[in-house]
């Protein structure tokens, strides 16, 4: 009887030590990722047609006037680098939220059509309606929520089965991409750079006007999602178990979907659907962290790092400058194929 009430100190010790060990592994990964993001951010500001040393860059960032650097770094590179970080954090965080909630790595917003929906709407608003700024973001968020609702409704039959939702989502994604292509071809003045932005995502021509709303969205929706960390962890055990643990399952799901879709929509309205960042960030973070706690923060950092590094590669690693989405697409596509092949081999569901 007493054994049940007060466990032996040695067991408590085992439990506490194991927990601390898992937590410190996760903390280490987060620290390393954060440092890597800062370094990649700094390199993005320094490198370009003209190289500026860290001192110049720092002075510009702090607001001093440095001839030449103030324009190149302050007006051209800084908004681009900030947008890369913010969009990467947003895509990573939203992607891992969906993957955790639906318990499937294929269920990321860029695979199941939510990102494509936001992109099609943003392209339509900008190219056809000639809108800009907040109106575009609002259109994107409405369209992304609409797509999420559409997929959810189509997949709903005695509850939502993950596989059905994913297959329907892939179909919806293809539909949204064709709408984007149609919109772009309708525009008459076929601007190749603009087309690439809405098809694969690009940071070219980033401005503060485009970056600031994305940053605000991250500051609003990010904490909302972090507040759901424990509920999302419980949801991983299945809806019934989560509910038995006192989680309000439907409420958690609605909050998580709205916040994640919000992040996706704002980021997509600024730089297009940067291919596969949402999809890749979670699994990469899972590899690094292991089964040692929530992936939300590590996945967000991996997202930011992916976008920064892919953009650097796209701009300077090849003779031609490629938009960031082309590089992340090249990374993501093989992983998508691998996941599908693996689920086929094991005979498991998608």
């Amino acid at each position: 009887m007493t054994a049940v009430v007060s466990p032996p100190p040695s067991t408590v010790d085992t439990v506490a030590r194991g927990r601390v060990r898992r937590a410190s592994r996760r903390r280490l990964v987060i620290t390393v990722l954060a440092v890597a993001v800062v370094v990649a951010f700094a390199v993005t500001l320094m490198v370009g047609r003209t190289f500026y040393p860290p001192g110049d860059v720092l002075r510009v960032v702090l607001g001093s006037d440095v001839p030449g650097a103030s324009f190149t770094v302050g007006r051209l590179r800084l908004p681009r680098a900030v947008l890369a970080v913010v969009a990467g954090l947003s895509f990573g965080l939203a992607g891992v939220t969906f993957q955790t909630m639906l318990r499937n790595p294929l269920a990321s917003p860029d695979v199941i059509g939510i990102t494509s929906g936001a992109s099609a709407a943003a392209a339509f608003a900008i190219v056809i309606l000639g809108w800009s700024g907040t109106a575009v973001s609002v259109t994107a968020i409405v369209a992304a929520l609409g797509v999420a609702l559409l997929i959810y409704t189509l997949a709903f039959k005695d509850g939502v089965a993950g596989t059905r939702l994913i297959l329907i989502g892939i179909g919806v994604a293809a539909m949204c991409k064709s709408i984007t292509s149609y919109v772009l071809s309708k525009a008459g003045a076929w601007d190749f750079a603009e087309a690439l932005r809405w098809l694969t995502g690009s940071l070219n021509g980033s401005t503060w006007e485009a970056t600031v709303p994305t940053l605000i969205a991250l500051l609003v929706f990010g904490p909302v999602l972090l507040g759901q960390t424990r509920n999302l962890s419980a949801l991983q055990l299945g809806d019934d178990t989560a509910s038995a643990l006192g989680v309000r399952v439907e409420r958690t799901r609605v909050i998580a979907i709205v916040a994640a879709v919000g992040l996706i929509a704002f980021a997509t309205a600024a730089c297009g659907p940067i291919a596969f960042v949402s999809f890749l960030a979670g699994p990469i973070a899972a590899r690094l962290v292991g089964p040692n706690g929530s992936l939300l923060v590590p996945a967000a950092l991996v997202g930011a790092l992916l976008v920064l590094v892919a953009d650097l590669c796209g701009q300077y690693a090849f003779g031609t400058r490629y938009p960031v989405g082309v590089v992340t697409g090249v990374l993501g596509a093989p992983y998508l194929i691998y996941l599908i092949v693996r689920s086929n081999r094991t005979g498991g569901s998608l």
Binding site: M1, A234, L237, G238, L245, G246, V247, P291
Partner: protein, 278 residues
């Protein structure tokens, strides 16, 4: 030590869409005892358990915990009193035993609260009670079926509820592991006074381990009470549509049901004389 909680269903009607599964059911769970719910496939056993832990809202009537409707209680408050181990919970890939058991602490934690010493102690106590301490740092994926089931029970124990509902806790386990799990639940009931309600497939194990046996048939309670009063040949016929003989289990003194199919049922006299049946 353990607060005694009353759990009851009052004129409960449960349905999925148009299909009514349970109709006008009244049930009183004896506090501090082990109750087993038995019945044919699709008779509404699991549905009843789901509704008692408010996974399913009633079409009519109420489930009452200490006189309050469970569907009205705040989710976390309910989860601190009443725990449920569903039929097929999902273990995230690679999760360690201690981490999974720790998830049972959810109703005791707040959004951004830190992990407390009480959380560690509860996890340790749960591991200890289920004898899974040596597995604490192992991945749940690597465990055998019996070990895994003990780990899930440990998770439910870490929740520290006075009432524990289990949906077929012995499915997919071999006979030794079934006994192991049922012994463990009996230990908990005796040591802590935890009220246990479980759905069981095996009538004989239910009769042996339960203090209170509930036989469901067609969405209603056919009989409820002491196993010796409930498990009768008439009851087996009415609930399962099966002919049987019920004898006194020489091991436990509880009723033991011997099914009588169309084959291998020799006249009793032959058996008594030791001649093999036809």
């Amino acid at each position: 030590m353990t607060a005694i909680h009353s759990l009851a269903a009052e004129d409960l009607t449960l349905a999925y869409g148009d299909r009514t599964v349970i109709e006008g059911l009244d049930l009183l769970v004896p506090p501090g005892r082990i109750t087993a719910v038995v019945g044919a496939n699709a008779c509404g056993k699991s549905t009843l358990l789901r509704s008692m832990s408010r996974l399913l809202a009633p079409r009519g009537g109420r489930v009452l915990l200490d006189g309050k409707a469970v569907h009205r209680l705040p989710a976390k408050e309910l989860a601190r009193t009443l725990g449920l181990l569903p039929q097929s919970p999902i273990a995230p890939e690679g999760i360690t035993v201690a981490d999974l058991v720790g998830r049972g602490r959810h109703p005791h934690q707040r959004v951004f609260s830190r992990w407390s010493a009480a959380d560690d102690a509860a996890v340790a106590a749960a591991l200890d009670a289920t004898e899974t301490t040596p597995l604490a740092d192992r991945a749940v994926d690597e465990l055998s079926g019996g070990q895994r089931q003990r780990v899930w029970i440990a998770m439910a124990l870490a929740q520290q509820t006075d009432v524990l509902l289990l949906d077929e806790p012995t499915t997919f386990l071999d006979v030794a592991h079934q006994i192991e799990v049922l012994d463990l639940l009996t230990d908990l009931n005796r040591a802590r006074g935890t009220t246990i309600v479980m759905v069981l497939h095996d009538l004989n194990l239910a009769a042996r381990y339960a203090d209170h046996l509930v036989a469901l048939s067609g969405g209603r309670i056919h009989a409820a009470g002491e196993p010796a009063d409930v498990l009768t040949e008439e009851c087996v016929r009415a609930v399962f549509g099966l002919e049987s003989q019920v004898i006194v289990d020489p091991t436990s003194g509880k009723p033991l049901m011997l099914p009588m199919g169309r084959h291998h049922t020799a006249p009793r006299a032959d058996v008594l004389q030791g001649t093999p049946g036809s």
